[in-house]
């Protein structure tokens, strides 16, 4: 589904050249959920921007379903760190942003928006403004907005980091259920090791800058049914946590 081949990225600025990513290789299967963890500034956001086609890599290629990425594509849905709902638009209007920009608004699409809002418990709020919603609800609206353009692959860049811990756990479960239900492929970038394990089929650990793939863990958690919350109860959870923690080699600098 997604193939990343030898991707490298260099940024140029007056202070010199920064190699953000170096020779990144991995692939993601259709329907798979992959987490990417790595130290701050190792190029995770850069990697997602490259996969989404917002940014052209200085080396290597990304293939989407066998086709080379050049520019943004409707196959990809990108969820940013904050929900970035536009506060002058109602919930319904926010959800319609993607179709509006892609000029694909039809009665059918509007119907679909209402249907998604209905399914995920936001129908009553469709004429409300974002300021009237809780953080968790806003995040759900942001996901529906992303789903509206029918992407096959979802990129989530620390999509939950703006939420408080308890809301975050609940939203993890919510979003995970929605992604599974809509049968999407997902790549989640996060700082939170527990979050990365709880949601993913595989975890990719990046090294610090210049980011390279340090290790890829295929998770098998013996728990059913699997949700982000139940995953945390799995006996293997602690083991993976330890492994990834060691791999990340986190130091607290004095």
């Amino acid at each position: 589904m997604v193939e990343v081949h030898n991707v490298s990225m260099k940024y140029h600025s007056l202070n010199g050249e920064i190699t953000a990513l170096q020779n990144i290789n991995f692939s993601v299967q259709a329907g798979e959920f992959v987490s990417i963890v790595g130290p701050s500034g190792c190029g995770k956001s850069t990697l997602l921007s490259i996969i989404s086609g917002l940014l052209a890599p200085t080396g290597g290629t990304v293939l989407l379903g066998g086709e080379k990425v050049a520019g943004t594509s409707s196959k990809i849905g990108y969820m940013l760190q904050k929900d970035h709902l536009l506060d002058w638009r109602t919930i319904f209007e926010n959800v319609m942003l993607g179709p509006e920009i892609r000029k694909t608004v039809t009665a059918e699409v509007k119907e679909r928006a209402l249907h998604l809002l209905q399914t995920y418990g936001l129908y009553e709020f469709r004429h409300k403004y974002p300021a009237q919603l809780s953080g968790g609800m806003r995040q759900r609206v942001a996901l529906i907005r992303t789903l509206m353009t029918s992407p096959e692959i979802l990129l989530l860049d620390e999509a939950f980091s703006a939420l408080d811990y308890q809301t975050r756990l609940a939203v993890n479960d919510d979003i995970y259920a929605i992604i599974k239900r809509e049968n999407k492929t997902a790549i989640l970038v996060t700082h939170d090791i527990a979050e990365s394990i709880s949601m993913a089929d595989r975890v990719i650990v990046l090294s610090k800058r210049p980011g390279t793939v340090k290790q890829i863990y295929s998770l098998s958690l013996s728990i059913a049914p699997r949700t982000p919350l139940t995953s945390r109860e799995a006996p293997e959870f602690r083991y993976y946590f330890q492994e990834i923690w060691k791999e990340l080699d986190v130091h607290v600098e004095a």
Binding site: L86, D87, G98
Partner: protein, 278 residues
């Protein structure tokens, strides 16, 4: 907006208002009435004293005029059929000035946002133009454009335009880059970034610029009328000063004050209507 909400909330709970809360509301109303009353009192006393001092010859009413003479002047201007002519011209020039200043300023801000190259090239010029006292350009405009309403409106534009450009451009640049990225993730063009995010997000900034421009526009119009005009409140003030008709000067100043306040209130009302869903 807030008031309406509060009133609605009050209406909803009015059946179960506790005595303490009723007492609180009564106090709030009382305080409001006291403030209003004092405000009116100040007005009445100052005009009253002005009249009394003038009548008792404590001040020379030839120089200070007096309220009754102001009323008389208003009436005679009205009789001559020129009262609304002068008020109308000045107000029209002012409205054209601030509307044009805000629109043109926004358009220029959009152009500068669109082309980073242009905005960098023009930056020093904007700084110089911004710090230049624009009134100094008055005689230049008169020579270039001719002594008439056009020169007056250009004068008001000169005063308000640069400030508007800088204000709105700043508003554009302070918008979260991630919101722009959001539009781009949907394959949005630069034009869509402008229409879907930049302009709606900057709407409050633009309305604010409009409010500031109302004040600046009055300054521009009055200065312009001082310099060139044959009609308008600024013209009446200058003319009255030249022929030592202080009644006319005072009358015009008072009308000017009332007109400016009314226009500002109008814009505040417009703002409320336009940004009601905030």
């Amino acid at each position: 907006m807030l008031k309406r909400k509060a009133r609605k909330a009050m209406a909803e709970t009015s059946t179960l208002i506790s005595p303490e809360h009723q007492e609180f509301l009564r106090q709030v109303r009382l305080e409001k009435t006291r403030i209003r009353f004092t405000q009116v009192l100040i007005l009445v006393i100052s005009f009253g004293l002005w009249e009394i001092f003038a009548r008792a010859n404590i001040v020379d009413s030839f120089i200070t005029s007096q309220p009754t003479r102001v009323l008389k002047t208003i009436f005679s201007l009205y009789e001559e059929g020129v009262l609304f002519h002068h008020i109308g011209i000045t107000c029209l020039e002012t409205v054209i000035g601030f509307v044009l200043g805000t629109l043109l300023g926004t358009v220029i801000a959009i152009i500068l946002w669109w082309s980073e190259f242009l905005s960098k090239v023009l930056e020093p010029y904007l700084v110089v133009l911004n710090s230049l006292p624009k009134i100094a350009l008055g005689p230049v405009f008169i020579v270039w454009i001719g002594a008439g309403p056009a020169a007056i409106i250009v004068m008001t534009l000169a005063i308000s335009l640069i400030v508007t450009v800088l204000e709105v451009l700043n508003g554009f640049l302070s918008i979260d880059k991630e919101k722009i990225k959001l539009v781009q993730t949907f394959g949005g063009t630069k034009f869509q970034v402008l229409t879907k995010v930049l302009l709606p997000a900057s709407f409050p900034t633009i309305i604010n610029a409009l409010k500031i421009n109302v004040g600046l526009s009055w300054v521009g119009v009055i200065v312009g009328e001082f310099l060139v005009s044959k009609a308008g409140l600024g013209y009446l003030i200058v003319y009255g000063g030249q022929v030592f008709k202080l009644d006319l000067v005072m009358t015009s100043v008072i009308i000017l004050g009332v007109a400016a306040a009314l226009m500002y209130q109008g814009v505040v009302y417009l703002e409320k209507v336009l940004v009601k869903n905030k």
